[in-house]
Amino acid sequence: MGRLLAERVLPKFSLRSAGTVDLDALDDGATLTLPEGEAVVTTDAHVVKPLYFPGGDIGRLAACGTVNDLVVMGAKPVACTLAMVLEAGFSIDVLEDLLLSCARILEMTGTALVAGDTKVMGAGELDGVVLTTTGIGVARKVIRDSGIHPGDELLVTGPIGDHGMALVAAREEFHLQSDLMSDVAPLWPLLAEVLEQTNVTAMKDPTRGGLAAALNEMARKSGVGIEIDGPSIPLRPQVRALADLLGLDPLQSACEGRAVLAVAPADAEKALALLRSQPAGREAAVIGRATEHRPGQVVLNTEVGGRRLLDMPLGDPLPRIC
């Protein structure tokens, strides 16, 4: 395993140092020399089926998941660790490919891989591979998901629900053909300037549970109501169509490359313009605002002029029978 590491894993990652003891030292740990600010740390275990899905793979997903968790805390990603648990017999070529995919994202976001570990379990004891990543970043101003004030505008950085729906569409048993791709992508550098130049009061990445879960959590923790204008939520036609076909709610479908931001009213227009000026944020939109009424609740004004609560999603959605 030592040779495998040195020859085939380590060279994939171009950034391997963020302090005086780096990855190449293969010491018991690495050190970090952090820039000024508050250090932010996050950790995630990544499993996904299939390992390769339209628009991405588990390597890319692991890197983006970690980077994005740091970014939505207001932090610039600095370093990350990677632990791999492999099923005996897992193809080394596939692993190499997945790591390359992971490395590309870390490079793109200036995140150094500083420590790692590999373990192997018996065949059948796990499904292929589990990647666990821990990320460290530094925030000049920490952004919570609880800081929304009444009057703040709510923005999303792009179309909602692509990742979840792309995975559903790729499931063999549905016999569906779709050109929909996962949105899995890093939120850095997309959000760098917005964080620098505008007053972002709260932020979250709408992963599990989608936009509905993110908004509910933000409303509850901030003690504000949120009023959402349904037609302004960017949704791809394929996402709408798949959701209709399978009886799923696109607002509950996961994203892996989007953020929901609350921005002080005076800065909302500027934040939107900054996002839209970059290719990854071209479809960003203002989708609603925070209110004093109904603290903790999210109200959705529907496209036909109806009105309802947008509730916290529960469990994994199952397709309906008709």
Binding site: F174, T302, V304, G305, G315, R320
Partner: protein, 363 residues
């Protein structure tokens, strides 16, 4: 299709229809019942109740095939699976409680339970693995039943059989109307079921009970338009069948599908969870196809377990006498993750739809 969708969700047209509803509504409380989970989803997801005139309420009756599947049928499926037979069924049957276990719980204990999207998928599983017994646990109304009929009539493999729990909509509505104390001013008839049975299937019901019936589609404007026709009939004191979903539903229905149903099934008095036995409301495999009838092929029994828990008002919700929010358990001890009553279990059950789509008064 894109144009259809945009047309049928156009906000100006929706507002215009809402205005017509306000002008047409009689000066008294009106209770419209629908019997389709997809109608409930359209109404709830688009917040349509918010657009209705005061005094007009729309309630879901026995419109969720999953919710009304009896514990007896469910216990039989669980029994087959725990005995090692591969049981295939639709995803939303997985969490429906039997007397002791759900199919999901049986699966987590190692029983071979598979979710499929059609009876054909189950037949394919049986063909791929001829050494293994495969049972399709067939649920649903006239919409899913023709699919089951088609595979039964196409000489499926010997290791395949059907545990049949299909049910029929018109007898359930008649039963509802026959129940003493039912207050029902109009029926919004289900679009999907009606594509198969045709709008004519409601004629007897409309005449006998003097109730307006309008077949409706599933886009927001479809539902609003159907409600306009229902309120017009009420205003003009009429009780006839109208078809507000002609782009999918004909008066005669789908003859081919009806023929499949006749050739594959016989009609019997089925037991509906929370309601009890309804005469001539269930479909069973015909005797000449008995080699594919799981109820005969295997020695399975089921005792009538507890169908509705104490305190749960599902029995009233199922016959449109209560709305989910009337139930003290709703959203408190009864949620889709830990459902107490059948209406919270099936994704199309009134309680589950209300819960998931935030259909509660927005003050």
């Amino acid at each position: 299709m894109k144009t259809d969708r945009e047309f049928l969700r156009n906000p100006q047209r929706a507002q215009a229809l809402a205005e017509v509803l306000r002008k047409t509504a009689p000066q008294r409380p009106v209770r419209i019942v629908h019997v389709c989970g997809t109608h409930e989803i359209t109404i709830s997801a688009h917040g349509l109740r918010h657009m209705l005139p005061e005094g007009v309420s729309v309630l879901e009756g026995p419109g969720c095939p999953v919710c009304v599947t009896s514990t007896v049928d469910l216990d039989q499926a669980v029994q087959l699976a725990t005995g090692g037979v591969a049981v295939c069924t639709f995803g939303d049957m997985m969490r429906v409680p039997g007397t002791e276990l759900t199919l999901d719980q049986a699966r987590s204990r190692g029983a071979p339970v598979h979710t499929v999207l059609s009876a054909t998928d189950a037949v394919e599983l049986a063909r791929r693995d001829p050494g293994r017994d495969v049972v399709f646990f067939a649920v649903g109304f006239e919409t899913t039943a023709p699919g089951t009929a088609a595979v039964l009539l196409e000489d499926p493999p010997k290791n395949f059989s059907v545990l049949c729990s299909h049910k029929l909509i018109p007898p359930a509505v008649e039963h509802l109307l026959d129940l003493p104390g039912t207050e029902l001013d109009g029926l919004l008839a289900p679009g999907h079921v009606s594509t198969v049975i045709g709008a004519n299937a409601y004629s007897r019901l409309a005449t006998r009970h003097q109730v307006p019936v309008v077949v409706g589609g599933f886009e927001p404007l479809d539902v609003l338009y159907a409600l306009v026709l229902l309120l017009r009939q009420l205003r003009d004191d009429q009780a006839k069948v109208e078809n507000a979903y002609p782009r999918a539903v004909t008066w005669e229905g789908n003859k081919q599908a009806q023929d499949l149903l006749r050739r594959a099934f016989r009609v019997y008095g089925a037991s509906w969870r929370g309601i009890g036995e309804i005469p001539a409301s269930g479909l069973a495999v015909r005797p000449e196809l008995s080699q594919w009838d799981a109820a005969l092929k295997y020695d399975i029994k089921g005792d009538r377990g507890q169908e509705v828990a104490p305190g749960c008002r599902c029995a009233e919700v199922l016959v449109a006498r209560a709305v989910p929010a009337d139930c003290p358990l709703f959203g408190v001890s009864c949620t889709p993750l830990s459902p107490v009553g059948p209406c919270m279990v099936g994704a199309e059950g009134a309680c589950a739809v209300w819960y998931r789509h935030g259909e509660r008064p927005v003050v």
